[in-house]
Amino acid sequence: MDQESGAASAGSFISLNEHEQRYYSGLHSLCQADTSGKLSSSKVAELFKASQLPPESLHKVTEVCGAKRLGYFGTPQFYVALKLLAATQSGLPVRLESVTANLPLPRFVGLKNEPEMRYSTVPPGIEGQGAQCGAAPGSVSWTPAERSTFRHLEASVEKKEPWSPPRSPCSSPPRSPLTYRSYPYTKQRNGADAQMTYESKQSSRPIIQLEQHSSPNNYGTKSTVEHPAMARASSAERLAQQGAVDDSEDDPWRITEEQLEYYTNQFKSLQPDLGALILGAVAKNFFTKSKLPIPELSHIWELSDVDRDGALTFSEFCTAFHLIVARKNGYPLPESLPPTLQPGFMQQEEDIPDTPESAEPLIVFEDAEPRPSQMDRSILERIQPSLPTTKQDMKEEPRKQDAGLKRMTTSQDKQTLQLGAFPERPEPPHDLDPQMRTKTRPRSYSSTSIEDAMKKAEEPPTPPPRPQKTHSRASSLDLNKLFQQGTPGIKSGWLPPPPALPPRPSTSQVSHFINTSEKTPQNKVQQPNFADFSHFREEEESSVKPEEQGLRSRFGPSTEDLTNASKQEVIGVCHSQAPQKPVRRKYHPESQSQETAPPPAMSFPPPSKPAQKLLSRQKREIQMAIRKNKETNAVLTRLNSELQQQLKVVHQERVTLESQLELLRPLAST
């Protein structure tokens, strides 16, 4: 509720009437607030310029509102600044006291006058909804609100078209977005949903790490999961979404700063020198992870490789990346490269926001650090809010683990056949299966928040959950198979946890539940069994070589004897597949014999703690080993296929040569 608190603090400080509230929130969204509530200083600078006040008064405004002190424009500062602008425009001195006066709205000339147009053209109902962004709860109400705002914005866009030329003195970059505003709308008239996802995706983009180094499963599910989560999370985010609305309605083909920064990082991960080229094969691997169909990727390549050299420069790479992102969000691919994505434009874009800042710093911050450091700070500060936190962790982690994970994820690409949207890429593999599990649900944007929040909450403790989550998919499979095996004593109370829930908490839940219902005699009965199992386990460890098999055998008997649910968990965690089934079944009779010893009707008490710790540790080890094996497996299969092809070619050559030899031989003999 950043915006609310901001508004409240600003409101306690200054009183905003209803109109002002709406107008300011509109302007606020225009300035592309990111999740921590900080506003993009370039946009704020534009806004201030558009107020047509002399620079010194703008400096004063910045100083008074506290942004200078802070170094950035937060929501309260922004509101105060707007009030001060209004005051200055009506001739009052720039001081805090002037803020309390009843002022007309500040006038901004030559802006992309979204809020103004919205304010004037849109019926109050929508305005109310826009204002509601500070107060409204659930995403469901947000959805129709957004849709209606879109349609009205469409109308306003069309109205704007005729007068956009007169607004040219504003600045050139905004002009091109104006012309392009109609483009996405005409295309997306039907796909309001797609647009919404794009906008909300844009807002969550800084949070969603668009890194490639994780399984593609995360792509679509994560974005869909995060959209409602984001929408629900805080009004600041909602504002960011609204800001993203403006941005995307400006031009979906335009790369924002955050996106640019992200793409830069990605480029660096592939090729440390920003001036160098990414080779075609490298780029192919990278973009294949987005799980777009190959013809589309091929088309994107054609669009973005402007110099046709088979390699991507940095700007070409950004273009391609951006096209992929847009495609993933449902935007159809253009037939030709939009001007905003052409490499020349990108450099131009970078120059233009820089020059006003350098020539005439409208916003003077006390700490005169360059913007990149602010961005870094913004990245760090994003860690603070709870939801973005987890994502930021994940963002930074994958960055560190880039090189190592690259191969692994490529191998996992092969294994994971599920589709996922591109934004999921950045998630490290441990987020694979939570997203996979959500994927089992239809890709709706209003998915349950609780599970998402739960998952998010789990993400910070990274290494332990990771292996488990990769196996949760298998766990769901195994659970079914387990049930088919018809192990006795499975109570309906221990239905398999829904695929969406990760195994770990449910195990703890299960153990909690079992703890509450434990029966002491069973404990005593159980412990000798445990002793047996650990003994058994050790045996198996020594005897069975392949780690997976060892795992199965180890966990086979122990899990059979544990509660059925925890059994499910453990086996699920073991990520067993078909080959392991027979191994486990071997121990069925033994386990069953052991099962008969305790009363069959009773449910077993939870494993004793040391055994549990052992189990979890072993699980982890095994899962790591499994993953490594899978990687090598995938690599080897690829190698194999390539070698096979080479072999075929060589065979053919050999055959032709032999036939020629045969032909020549009779000639030679005679």
Partner: protein, 139 residues
Amino acid sequence: MAVCIAVIAKENYPLYIRSVPTQNELKFHYTVHTSLDVVEEKISAVGKSLGDQRELYLGLLYPTEDYKVYGYVTNSKVKFVIVVDSSNTSLRDNEIRSMFRKLHNSFTDVMCNPFHNPGDTIQSKAFDGIVSGMMVQTG
């Protein structure tokens, strides 16, 4: 203005073949197929003097009563075949050469695309665009 344009791989299977749709395409496919023999003959004929760089443009392969067939071979033995309507204003050699050059360039672009596997049929929109530009407009 071509009536049919075909790109044939080294192994003599078509990577891309497109003809003016109004007329029965099978005829064109057959024509292209038969022209392959002529191409092979021309290649092998020149192949004796391997020192010289073989001319890529093969020229008129053979005329039928309705059509003229032109051929072009790249250094990687990928063949381009253009079938032109005889009744059309007879196109000059230079024009045909320029058509082949354009084809070759866009073919190279397609090959440069890392997402394109050599040996796959060509599914590039850019390539399609260039070919459409060369085909008879009435199609």
